[in-house]
Symmetry: C2
Subunit: 345 residues, 2 copies
DNA sequence: TTGTATGCGTTATCAA
DNA sequence: TTGATAACGCATACAA
C-alpha cells in the first residue's frame, strides 16, 4: 500500500476520521475516550502512519519548519552554528530551511518572502544590520524572530550574540600583557552590531589599558572578508614604513587573514614584526603558517540557544522581546600571531 | 489586505477561478483566450499574487523543492557545492532542503523519509556508498535521483563526480617528478566510490610510474576525517623509524592533515622529511603551516551540474540513468608539502 | 474557450 | 465523547 492517510487509520480503527485526528494530536487527545485513543494510536503505529506535513500546513497555515537567514554558507562561521540549530530543532521535530542572502537586501527580502510562503513557524536571522527596516516589518507582522550573532538597534526582538565587548577586551589586554603599546584596528562593517560594538569596545579597552591607537591607525572594511581585510590593512600601512604601530586587531578572522596578506606583501611577518589577532575562532586557525590568535565564540551553543528560544516562542505563540536576549561567553585563544613587540618596532 | 489568493485574482479579473488558474500556469495557458490570459496575468501582477506552494503541493503531490543529502555541512567540502546547487536551482524557482546524515544509515533513512513527506521533486545525494540498499529502493520507487561526488555500484542513477582516477594519477606523477620512488597511501573508506577508486588509481599509477608502494605502506581509514588520517598514518609509521617511504598520498585533505599531525608527533616535518599530498582542494590549504599539495575538484561546478541534471529529469518526468553521469576535470595544485625526497630518506 | 465540481489530507466547527 | 461537514488554496477532469 501507498503511504497510509488518516482515513486509512480511522477505517482500520473503526472510528471516524475526525476522532482519529483528535486521538493522534496531543493537543486534542483529551477530547477523546482513552481507550479509543489508545486503539487509534496503536493502529497508526502498526500502519506506519505519518501525518502529511503539507496537508497539515495547508490547514493550519503553519509548518514545522523554521527558516535560517545567513549571508553565505561558505563562510566557515556558519556551518557549526547551523549544526547547533538543527540539533535543537530536531528534538522537537522541526526542520530547517536555509537561505543565503549574499548581503543583498533585495535578495534577502525575496528569500524571506519565499520562506514565509512555505509557512515557516519562525525565523532565525544572522544577517541583521543595526538599522534594518525589513526586520521591523517582520516583527510588526507578528512573526516569531530570533537574531543570532548580530543584533539590531531599537528592535524589540531577542538576539543570541557572542560577548563581543568581552572578547575585544581580552584581545587588547592580551596585547598589553605582551608589551604592546601601539595598536591598530581593522573593523568590520559599522552597519552591523558586531562591527560597531567590537570597534567601540576596542577604543574603550585601549583607553583602559593606557595603550595608544591614533585615528589614522583605525579603519573599517565594508565586508567581513579576506579581501576587505587586505584592503583595509594596506591603507593603514601606506602612511609610514615601517608602521608606527606594533600590533593590529581585526574584527574577525577573515579580516585578520587579509591583514596578514597585506603585511606579507610588504615583507612583514605576522607575529614576528607585527602582532595580528582575529575574532570568531574559525576552524583551522591553529594550523596556519602563523597560527592566528583569536577569540573563540561558542558557535554550536549560539545555534542551540537561538533554536531553543525560538521553539519556546513558537510553543507559547509569542513574538518575543529583546529582554530574552543572551550574550554567550567567549574565550581568548592566544597563538603565535601575537608575540611581544619586535625590538625594531 | 492579506496575501491575495487565486480567488481574489479571479474575482478582480472577472473570470472564474479555474480560468485564472489556467491563465497563470504556463502549461495550461494555451487553453485560455489570449486576451483574458493577459488580463488575468496583469491583475495577478497588480495584486502581487503568489501561488501558495503548500496548497499547490497538496494538490499536485509535488513541491518546487529538492532535497540534498550530505554527511555533514561542517565538512568544508560541501558549502561550495551547495552554493553551486542553489545557484542553478534558483534559476528555475526551486529551493533546496539540506539534511546532514552524520554517516548514520538510520538517520539517513529517517531524514530522506522526511524530505519525501515534504514532497521534494528530487534528491541530490552526496552520501552514496558503493553498496547502498536505500538508494536502490528510492530508485525503484521512481524517485528522481542524482548522486554527487560519490557514486554507487550497479545503480542505474546519474552521478556527477570528480575525475578521481585522473587526480590520483596527477598526484603520483607529481611525486615521481619530484624524484620520489617509495610512496605510502592513506585511503578513505573503501565502502565509498571515492575511497575505492582513488585507492585503485593509486596502485595503478604507482605501477605505471614504476614506483614502489609495498602492502604495508598502504592502509585506509574508515572515516574521511583528520582523526582518521592521524590514526592511519600512525599505524604506517609504527613499523620502521625512520619510515621506509619518502612520501604519502592521502585520499582527501582532511586525512592528509591527520597524516601531517602524525608525522609532526614523531618529529618529522611534512614536505621536508616526508612529502604529503591530499585531495579535494579545500579552502585555506595554501595558508597552512605547510601548504598542502592537493587536487582541486570543481566544487561549484559539481553542484551546478548535478542541479542542472536533476532539473532536467524532473522537467521531463524521468528518473534518469547512469549513462547521464559526468566526471568533471580536476587540477593538481602543487604546494610546499611535496618536495624532492630528503637525502636522508 | 470557459465554468462546474471534486479532491489532495488535514483540522476545526458544529451537532448529536 | 463521537460523527458529520466544511474549509485551507489550488489544479484538473468533465461539462457546457
Amino acid at each position: 500500500m501507498a503511504r497510509p492517510t488518516l482515513r486509512d487509520v480511522a477505517a482500520a480503527a473503526g472510528v471516524h476520521i475526525a476522532t482519529a485526528s483528535r486521538a493522534l494530536n496531543s493537543g486534542t487527545r483529551s477530547k477523546v475516550n482513552d481507550q479509543t485513543a489508545e486503539r487509534v494510536i496503536a493502529v497508526a503505529e502498526r500502519l506506519g502512519y505519518m501525518p502529511d506535513p503539507v496537508a497539515r500546513s495547508l490547514k493550519t497555515a503553519r509548518s514545522r519548519s523554521i527558516g535560517l537567514v545567513i549571508p553565505d554558507i561558505a563562510n566557515p562561521l556558519f556551518p557549526p552554528i547551523i549544526r547547533g540549530i538543527e540539533c535543537r530543532l530536531e528534538a522537537d521535530g522541526y526542520d530547517l530551511a536555509i537561505v543565503n542572502t549574499d548581503n543583498d537586501a533585495r535578495r534577502e527580502r525575496r528569500l524571506i518572502e519565499s520562506l514565509l510562503s512555505r509557512k515557516v513557524a519562525g525565523l532565525i536571522i544572522a544577517t541583521a544590520r543595526r538599522e534594518h527596516a525589513l526586520l521591523e516589518e517582520l516583527h510588526a507582522r507578528g512573526l516569531a524572530l530570533v537574531l543570532i550573532n548580530r543584533d539590531s538597534e531599537g528592535l524589540d526582538v531577542p538576539a543570541i550574540t557572542p560577548a563581543d565587548a568581552d572578547g575585544m577586551r581580552l584581545l587588547v589586554a592580551h596585547l598589553a600583557d605582551l608589551g604592546h603599546r601601539r595598536v591598530a584596528f581593522v573593523g568590520g562593517p559599522p552597519t552591523t552590531s558586531t562591527g560597531w560594538r567590537r570597534a567601540r569596545a576596542f577604543v574603550d579597552a585601549v583607553r583602559e589599558h593606557d595603550l595608544v591607537s591614533r585615528g589614522g591607525w583605525r579603519t573599517s572594511s565594508d565586508s567581513w572578508s579576506i579581501p576587505g581585510g587586505h584592503a583595509a590593512m594596506s591603507e593603514l600601512l601606506e602612511d609610514t614604513t615601517p608602521p608606527a604601530f606594533t600590533s593590529v586587531i581585526a574584527a574577525n578572522d577573515l579580516l585578520a587573514l587579509g591583514c596578514c596578506d597585506a603585511l606579507c606583501e610588504r615583507g612583514l611577518t605576522p607575529g614576528t614584526d607585527i602582532s595580528v589577532a582575529g575574532f570568531n575562532g574559525m576552524d583551522f586557525l591553529d594550523r596556519l603558517a602563523v597560527p592566528l590568535t583569536s577569540v573563540r565564540i561558542p558557535h554550536r551553543a549560539l545555534g542551540e540557544r537561538a533554536a531553543e528560544l525560538l521553539l519556546d516562542l513558537i510553543g507559547r505563540n509569542q513574538v518575543g522581546s529583546a529582554t530574552m536576549s543572551a550574550e554567550l561567553p567567549v574565550q581568548l585563544i592566544p597563538r603565535a600571531s601575537t608575540a611581544p613587540p619586535s625590538p625594531t618596532g
